[in-house]
Structure formats: structure tokens, C-alpha cells
């Protein structure tokens, strides 16, 4: 269906169900319970899940398929963000033109960067992309202040021209919308002690994410996808088989840059501001972590990785020592303090430490990422079935 094999169609339906039901799935605990702090079903975080999902899906098209490790993909996300916010300032607060322009501008920028950086491969390519991203960051932070707003970044202002929009009432601030439907609009559903929030912006971002995921599946299974996997496997054989690897890698680079620009545009659509910190090298590193944690080269891996990292960043970092004391109150005093002292470095601002440990464990024990973990669990339960039908098909 829609040009997909049954297996891929099932995967797409699974992801669609996940994102559609996310407000329920991410809010498993009643509102006032002690566990409510583990609820992730609030609009801001759910939007981030799908937006970073798009970013990681795009990054995986480059890294997972061709093996070129870009350490500067946040630059495209940042460029997309600036493009989107300028569209909102100058043209309209409707998100559609903003998102389209962010994809186009990021695409053009990635052609330029890719043309230069793809002259090298391996570690040199990574360093070149890192250098480009840091240069972009510095430009946005200081040199290009008139365009980027420098350190403070950009927000829509009442005084902006917005030539397509009518004048807005005094005392209100312009809000991003889709033909009048505001991105911040939410509907709360209360059932017993639970509160589920359905947010317009989230669902719009989720639809874009599903479209991106569908497109990524098509790319993976296409002749172009085959060529990119061949680039990763053996460039020498590619050259001696009459294939020019350069345009193939450049195309992959530009496609993934456009995905990053799309994510940047959506970020602005959800939260109308853009700043240079979005292009900082840690942001580029984060998407690398997401992809490897979830499973580079797999379809769903990057989405999972993005979810796990954003969940930890937002939930784990909110736990403080008081909460820990509350959990371990049942212990004798000395032991309670000791346990809290041990765990404290791993929570709050120390969430990076937990992420680091998780990342190391995954890379060492599950080189294929969380997806490999899932496959192993499935193999454990489905062993009988697997033996009936031995398969020699390579993992894809």
C-alpha cells in the first residue's frame, strides 16, 4: 500500500498509532499522584519529541545509510529556524510559508556546506562539518546580529510588518497559527484523576513527522537508498562499477539538511523564537547520540533515540534532592541520606551522567541500538516461531 511492503506499512501504522495516542501513552499516572512527575504528556515536550524525531530521521538518512558522520547538523536546524522566524515577521504568522521557507533555505545552505565538506571522508568530514557549524554559530551569535538578533535571538514583535496578516488588537502578541488555528490551542480531557492534553501544535507537528517518516521509508527502499548503502559498504567498488559517489553523498547530505531545516521551522512554529544556541556543537552532538542510541541505519531507531533523550532531558532533570528524600523516606535516616547522596549526581543537572552511562551500555552491549534490544527481546519470545522458518535475509 502506498508503495510500501507489508512490513514497512505495519511499522508506519505502529508509529502513527504511537504519535496519535501519545497524550495517553505519555501520561500513565494520575495528575496528583507521586508518579505524576514522570508524565511526559504535556504539549511542549510532546512537540519536542516529534520535532527531534524528524531531525534524527533526517540525520539517519545521511549517517545511517552512507556512513558519513556529520557533526554539524544543528547548523541546518538553526538556519531553518531563522528562515521561519523571518517569514513570520515579514509575511504572516501562518506556519505554512515559514516551514516551507525553512526547508528551502536549509537545503540551499546544505548544498554549499556539503559541496565543500564532502571532498573528504571519515574523521576529516566530521571535523569539517563541525567547523562549519561552529562558524555558523559564531556568525549568528555576533557578526550577523542585524539578521539573527545576536545573543538574544529573534521573536515576532507587534511592530513587525506581516504584510499578509491584518492588524492585531492592541496589547496582544502575534501568535503562530495554521489558518487561524493557534499552535498553542489545547483541549484538556479529564477522566477520573487523569488529565490528557490534546494540543493543536503537537498534532500538526506529528502529521509532518509521519510524512517525513513515510518519505524516509521510501528513500531507504529506493534505488537511491541502495546506492547510499553501497557507498557505506565499499566506495572503491562503487567507483569501479561506473558510479560517481560524490553526487550520491551530496544528495543524501542535502536531504538530511532539509529534514533538519524542517525540524528547525517546526520548532519556530511551536515556540516562536530562534536563537544561536540552537546551532551550538552540543546540539549537533545530541542528534548523533539520538541516532546511535536508537539504532543507526534502522528506520525507527532515530525516533526512539530522540524520544529517550528528550524524555531524560526533561523528566530526569526535574528530579531534585527533596523528591529523592521523599522516595527513600522509608529507609533508616543514615541509609536514606547515603542512598540519596549516591543517586543525586545522576539526576537534576546531572542527567547527562545518566545519559552517558546509558549510551555506553547501549554501544557496548547493543551495538545496533535500542532497535537491536527490541529484536533480541522479540527473538526470546518468538524463538519457537523463528525456528520453524529459518531466514537468511540480511537485517535491514
Amino acid at each position: 500500500m502506498f508503495g510500501l511492503e507489508k512490513k514497512d506499512w505495519n511499522l508506519l501504522l505502529f508509529v502513527a498509532a504511537l504519535v496519535a495516542l501519545a497524550p495517553f501513552i505519555l501520561n500513565p499516572f494520575p495528575e496528583n499522584s507521586a508518579m505524576a512527575q514522570f508524565n511526559a504528556g504535556y504539549p511542549d515536550l510532546m512537540q519536542r519529541f516529534v520535532i527531534f524525531g524528524i531531525f534524527a530521521i533526517g540525520f539517519n538518512i545521511l549517517f545511517g545509510l552512507t556512513g558519513y558522520l556529520s557533526f554539524g547538523h544543528a547548523a541546518f536546524l538553526g538556519v531553518g529556524s531563522y528562515a521561519a522566524i523571518w517569514m513570520m515577521k515579514l509575511l504572516t504568522m501562518n506556519v505554512i510559508p515559514a516551514i516551507i521557507l525553512s526547508v528551502i533555505v536549509a537545503g540551499i545552505f546544505s548544498v554549499l556546506v556539503g559541496y565543500v565538506t564532502l571532498r573528504r571522508s571519515g574523521i576529516y568530514f566530521s571535523i569539517l562539518t563541525l567547523a562549519f557549524a561552529q562558524m555558523s554559530y559564531s556568525l549568528a551569535y555576533s557578526v550577523l546580529t542585524p539578521i539573527t538578533g545576536g545573543e538574544t535571538g529573534l521573536q515576532p514583535k507587534v511592530s513587525d510588518p506581516r504584510i499578509l496578516d491584518g492588524a492585531i488588537a492592541d496589547g496582544t502578541i502575534p501568535k503562530a497559527n495554521l489558518f487561524g488555528l493557534e499552535m498553542g490551542a489545547s483541549f484538556d480531557l479529564s477522566i477520573a484523576g487523569w488529565v490528557f492534553t490534546f494540543n493543536a501544535g503537537y498534532y500538526i507537528a506529528a502529521i509532518v513527522m509521519l510524512a517525513s517518516f513515510y518519505l524516509a521509508i521510501r528513500i531507504f527502499r529506493s534505488p537511491f537508498g541502495l546506492m547510499m548503502r553501497a557507498v557505506k559498504s565499499n566506495q572503491q567498488r562503487m567507483n569501479y562499477t561506473g558510479l560517481n559517489t560524490k553526487p550520491y553523498t551530496l544528495a543524501a547530505f542535502v536531504i538530511s539538511g532539509m529534514y533538519a531545516g524542517l525540524a528547525g521551522g517546526l520548532m519556530v512554529a511551536m515556540d516562536t523564537q530562534a536563537g544561536p544556541e540552537r546551532m551550538f556543537w552540543t546540539a549537533s552532538g545530541e542528534v548523533v547520540l539520538m541516532t546511535i542510541l536508537g539504532g543507526a541505519g534502522t528506520l525507527i531507531g532515530p525516533v526512539l533515540g530522540a524520544g529517550v533523550i528528550k524524555y531524560m532531558e526533561n523528566i530526569l532533570s526535574k528530579i531534585n534532592s527533596d523528591i529523592l528524600h521523599g522516595w527513600f523516606a522509608f529507609m533508616p535516616d543514615g541509609m536514606e541520606d547515603f542512598t540519596v547522596a549516591i543517586l543525586y549526581p545522576f539526576i537534576g543537572k546531572g542527567w547527562h551522567l545518566t545519559l552517558g552511562i546509558l549510551f555506553m551500555l547501549v554501544v557496548i552491549f547493543l551495538p545496533g541500538g535500542l532497535v537491536e534490544g527490541g529484536q533480541r527481546i522479540r527473538a526470546l519470545f518468538g524463538r519457537g516461531k523463528a525456528e520453524d522458518k529459518p531466514s537468511t535475509e540480511p537485517a535491514e
Binding site: G3, E5, R218, I219, R221, S222, P223, F224, G225, L226, M227, R229, A230, K232, S233, N234, Q236, R237, M238, N239, Y240, T241, G242, L243, N244, P247, Y248, A251, I255, T392, E393, P394
Partner: protein
């Protein structure tokens, strides 16, 4: 006039004259072997044919067109396919996918962005790849991971991939190096079969005299970067200069 003409080719690496005044003509639809002791410049010469090296002097023409200054993929698109000393295949891909890539390259050229259709829906490519797998006697391995195959099978696959492009000239760089006797004989049989069934020119660089004398119609002996003699296998066998190059003056 041969399909591959090499005129006065010389190549120097620093103080080492790797090739000097090499003249060679490979006739269309023949099997031409280039033999010589270690360090004779055989691989250097081959690298000059495929765009990996550019000679300092002389010319190399394929079917009347110069190959010098062209990249390996351009030379391949002209009709020259190369088999490497250690099989170069796409180890991470399945055997079927390996076979599809050269057929895509033949149909679509050096680059074509085709990101939406499913690769298995390219019926002409799939059919041609299936047929080639059957011809190569590898149809049962179509879903195997290419890297998991034996050395002999990898070699067979690599040759199959080169033939799938229907090249006019097939270059083989020590195709049986490091192979067990049985695999070597299989490869010889495969090459004989190719020679009999197709209109193809084969140039082969080889160490193993058994392989050379079973296949070649013409032999060029290379020593210290220059051709010593060029003749038929029967005449080469007893040639005093060849014995000298291989076994040293005293013999």
C-alpha cells in the same frame, strides 16, 4: 589495432622507474595475460588502465579513446570492468543487491537520483540480476549477506557483477591469488566458460602459471617495468629470456 593500445608508457615513483617504455596491444575478443616476477610493474600497469594512476609518459587508449585523466567510474562507463586481487564486493548488502548495483550503473549511468520508487519494482533490473545470478550458479545464495560467503564465492560474485555490465574489456588482477586449488580450478573453468560464451576481451595479470597457460592466447612477460617478450603460450614456455627473468641468470 587492438581494443586496448598501450604506447611508450612510463611511470616513476621517486627514484624507482616502475614502468618504462611499455608497448602493448590487446586484440579484441582475445585473452591476453601479463605475467612477470614480483615487482615487475604488473599492478602499476593495470592501475594505469583504470584511472587509478596516470603514467608520466605515453598513452593508453581504449577503442581509440584515451583513458588517461579519466576517473575510474568514467573508464568503467566506457566499457572496462575490473576484478580486484582481493574480491571487492558490497559486504554489507545481500548477494542480490550486489548484483543489482552494476545493472543500475549500466542502465542509469554514473548518477541518477531515484529516491521514491521501490528498488524491487524496477522489473528490468531485478530480472537481469536474477538471470545473472542463475548464470553464475549463485541463485540459491541470493539472500545471503555477501560478506558471509567463502572467498571463492565472493570472487564468483565479483566476476558476475563485472559481467552483468556487459563490459567489452574485463581486467583481472591475480584472480586466483590466495585461493585453494579447488577454488582456483573453479575460477579457471568459469573464465573459460565466459571466454567461450561471450564476445569479450580479457586481460589478466597473474602469478600462477597454471592459470595463465590454461587461459591465455597471448602472453606478455614484464620484467623490471619493461616487456621482455610477447608471444603465444607455447612459445613463452621455453623462452630463455623468460626463464632468466623468473629464475635468475644462473639458471
Amino acid at each position: 589495432m587492438g581494443i586496448l593500445e598501450v604506447k611508450d608508457v612510463g611511470k616513476r615513483f621517486g627514484g624507482l622507474q616502475a614502468l618504462g617504455d611499455v608497448n602493448l596491444s590487446v586484440k579484441e575478443n582475445s585473452v591476453h595475460a601479463i605475467i612477470g616476477p614480483n615487482g615487475a610493474g604488473k599492478s602499476t600497469l593495470l592501475n594505469c588502465f583504470v584511472g587509478k594512476l596516470i603514467p608520466d609518459t605515453g598513452s593508453v587508449t581504449f577503442d581509440g579513446q584515451s583513458v588517461l585523466g579519466r576517473t575510474p567510474y568514467e573508464i568503467n562507463q566506457m566499457g572496462i570492468s575490473r576484478v580486484f586481487q582481493t574480491p571487492e564486493i558490497f559486504g554489507d548488502l545481500s548477494v542480490m543487491e550486489n548484483m543489482m548495483i552494476p545493472i543500475f550503473a549500466k542502465r542509469d549511468g554514473a548518477f541518477r537520483l531515484q529516491a521514491i520508487p521501490h528498488m524491487m519494482e524496477e522489473k528490468d533490473i531485478v530480472e537481469a540480476a536474477e538471470k545473472q545470478l542463475v548464470d553464475m550458479n549463485m541463485a540459491d545464495k541470493r539472500n545471503m549477506h555477501a560478506a558471509a560467503m567463502s572467498r571463492g564465492d565472493k570472487r564468483r560474485l565479483e566476476i558476475g557483477m563485472c559481467l552483468a555490465q556487459e563490459p567489452r574489456l574485463l581486467l583481472l588482477d591475480e584472480p586466483t591469488a590466495g585461493m585453494a586449488r579447488a577454488d582456483t580450478n573453479n575460477t579457471i573453468d568459469l573464465l573459460k566458460q565466459i571466454k567461450d560464451e561471450r564476445d569479450i576481451t580479457i586481460a589478466i595479470i597473474e602469478h600462477d602459471m597454471h592459470v595463465v597457460f590454461s587461459l591465455a592466447e597471448r602472453i606478455t612477460v614484464l620484467a623490471q617495468g619493461t616487456p621482455l617478450v610477447e608471444d603465444t603460450p607455447d612459445n613463452i614456455k621455453g623462452h630463455p629470456k623468460v626463464r632468466e627473468a623468473y629464475l635468475g641468470e644462473a639458471a
